[in-house]
């Protein structure tokens, strides 16, 4: 995947997470490399969501470690993960429907000054934020009708694109996408898949959870399959391995 570096950007080593009596993650090992799209597959309740929540600082592993650039890290909150360059786009997108794309991009980390004032009292640098937002969108070839339109008035695909672009805007190195195409029509899903490919070409690491096998086949360089909290397989998705993936997911002896 990444010839000039054998150290994964992010790695989970023997990750284990328990919710009461339920073993949600059971000794999971994962490597995520820069410039690679990794698909996480599995049926409902297989542990995919728990895994990405541990990778994005929402949950903490009960045992096992998470490494970034080969060094163990502690992530207690989503902000910790974000500071390490890990951004997550959840299924609900967490967008502010009443605000413009640039207000959404910078929500909670607005560019504002002067610096001697407390954050809340600072004046917004609106032009800079709008221009930077436009630059990121241009770079990712995301076309929006109008940068002043509240995102609530945009289509599902455009909203997804804004959310993904927001996740990549702040020198993030890993973007985790939870079911990015689930709520989209065919064309809009295709655009989001293009966007994922562009993230890869920008040398970002991308983790995608998806049920849509066609989409996984199209964008993923590597796929891991989870079942009952364990990693049960790891392979290169292709038409030839499709059967094998499906049987791993449903729990045949694949």
């Amino acid at each position: 995947m990444n010839p000039d570096s054998s150290i994964p950007f992010l790695a989970v080593r023997s990750g284990t997470k328990r919710f009461g009596g339920v073993l949600a993650l059971d000794g999971v090992d994962i490597d995520v490399f820069a410039g690679e799209v990794l698909a996480v597959l599995g049926d409902n309740g297989a542990g995919k969501s728990t895994l990405i929540k541990c990778m994005s600082g929402v949950h903490r592993l009960d045992s096992g470690v998470i490494e970034v650039d080969g060094d163990p890290v502690q992530m207690h909150t989503p902000s910790d993960a974000r500071a390490l360059g890990i951004e997550t786009v959840y299924q609900d997108l967490a967008l502010f429907d009443n605000l413009s794309p640039s207000a959404n991009f910078y929500a909670g980390r607005e560019l504002a000054g002067p610096r001697w004032l407390p954050m809340g009292m600072r004046l917004l640098e609106r032009k800079t934020m709008k221009q930077d937002t436009q630059d990121v969108l241009n770079r990712l070839q995301v076309t929006l009708p109008d940068l002043d339109t509240p995102v609530g008035l945009m289509s599902g695909g455009q909203r997804q694109a804004v959310a993904v672009a927001r996740a990549t805007a702040f020198s993030s190195r890993l973007v985790i996408l939870d079911e990015p195409t689930a709520a989209l029509g065919l064309r809009e899903a295709a655009r989001v898949l293009d966007l994922i490919k562009r993230l890869r070409s920008e040398q970002k690491a991308v983790v995608v959870i998806s049920h849509a096998m066609d989409h996984v086949m199209e964008v993923a360089d590597r796929a891991i399959v989870m079942r009952r909290g364990r990693k049960v397989g790891e392979l290169i998705p292709s038409e030839g391995s499709r059967e094998q993936i499906v049987s791993l997911i449903v729990g045949g002896d694949g």
Partner: protein, 370 residues
């Protein structure tokens, strides 16, 4: 670099249209089409956009229309003297509605502002009797407002009372009770001259000085809502509280702050009322909270939170002031004012519902086109 980064301008180089990834090609085409003819969407849903524009500008248009009609039918209406009257009568509602605006943007409500106004006038009058210091009187009135606002905000956020309606319903009655108790249920005469001048005097014989207080508060709220980080966060919290929490926006502090600000505007409104009447009275500001809420809603801010600005609050307040004034000039009974105001509120909320519906349609139209 690989073909993945090729821009729309060299789409042709990417590969034949029959490539194994037809999705990607088609989407590039779609982007090209959008980029080359940016005006095509407008043509497609022109009527929808026009209807939306009218609904969004609706309250302001209706206000202009209303003023035009009244000016034609009632010659007295556009005289400087009467304009001064309208502005003076509207000042209290306008100031209160600017505070209420921020509360409503966060999906909240503040029922206590009328009572707080009364408490402010009473404490101001008592302090004036005790010490004769203009500064202390003003500080007492503003302080009373801030204090009630802080109590509202803290009870709601830290006390985890489920809805601000309940919190401010409690302080609505509690604060009125305190004002009655402090004043022994009677008006207290006497205010410092500076308070009387600001609240009751006018320049050129018609333009009330309280109008400039409204302008000042309006500019402050406009700066806050459009230029300052805190204001941006208020809209974020109103638009998606859950996401605000996830993006590290201090949602609790912001919620408390809007109630404190609403209390501040109630203190200022008390200042104006006390100045105009040269008194503090526990009965002042009765039902003023409903006027303020009505003004924000009539002006076009959404009761569902997240949208609405200074212009909405001001237009709504003016609308109420103009309707009342016109009916007074026409010698109509005051119960007609209540009926008309009720109808205006229904129309305003219904058009907000319609606006949401049309925006949804527009979004669907965009989704099917792209």
């Amino acid at each position: 670099m690989s073909e993945r980064v090729s821009g729309p301008e060299n789409t042709e180089l990417v590969g034949p249209r029959s490539s194994p990834a037809p999705f990607a090609d088609r989407s590039e085409e779609g982007q090209d089409a959008n980029a080359s003819s940016p005006d095509s969407p407008n043509r497609l849903d022109g009527p929808l956009r026009l209807a939306l524009f009218l609904l969004r500008a609706g309250p302001a248009l209706i206000l202009v229309l209303l003023i035009a009609v009244i000016a034609i039918t009632t010659p007295l209406f556009l005289t400087p003297r009467n304009i001064g009257n309208v502005l003076a009568q509207t000042a209290v509602i306008a100031v209160l509605s600017l505070g209420m605006l921020l509360v409503i943007v966060t999906r909240g409500i503040d029922l206590s502002v009328g009572s707080t106004l009364a408490l402010a006038t009473v404490t101001g009058a008592l302090v004036f009797q005790a010490g004769n210091s203009s500064f202390l009187v003003i500080a007492a009135m503003i302080g009373a407002g801030l204090l009630v606002g802080l109590v509202n905000g803290v009870l709601f956020v830290k006390g985890r009372i489920p809805h601000p309606f309940i919190v401010t319903l409690a302080t609505f009655t509690l604060v009125r009770g305190v004002a009655l108790w402090l004043s022994d249920g009677r008006p207290i005469q006497g205010m410092p001259s500076i308070v009387q001048v600001v609240g009751g005097d006018s320049i050129f014989g018609w333009l009330p000085i309280s109008f400039f207080v409204v302008v000042g508060v309006a500019i402050a709220v406009w700066l806050l809502t459009t230029r300052v980080v805190w204001g941006r966060w208020i809209y974020a919290v109103g638009g998606n509280p859950e996401a605000a929490h996830r993006t590290a926006i201090p949602a609790s502090k912001i919620l408390i702050s809007v109630y404190v600000f609403s209390g501040l505007t109630a203190g200022i409104a008390g200042f104006l009322t006390a100045g105009r009447t040269n008194a503090g009275a526990p009965t002042f500001g009765a039902l003023a909270e409903l006027d303020a809420i009505a003004a924000v809603i009539i002006g076009g801010a959404s009761f569902l939170g997240g949208r609405g600005g200074v212009s909405h609050a001001l237009v709504g307040a003016m609308m109420i002031g103009v309707i009342r004034n016109a009916m007074n000039l026409a010698n109509l009974d005051s119960f007609f004012q209540l009926i008309v105001l009720g109808i205006v509120i229904i129309v305003a909320v219904e058009s907000d519902v319609l606006r949401g519906h049309l925006e949804n349609k527009l979004r669907l139209a965009q989704a099917t086109r792209t």
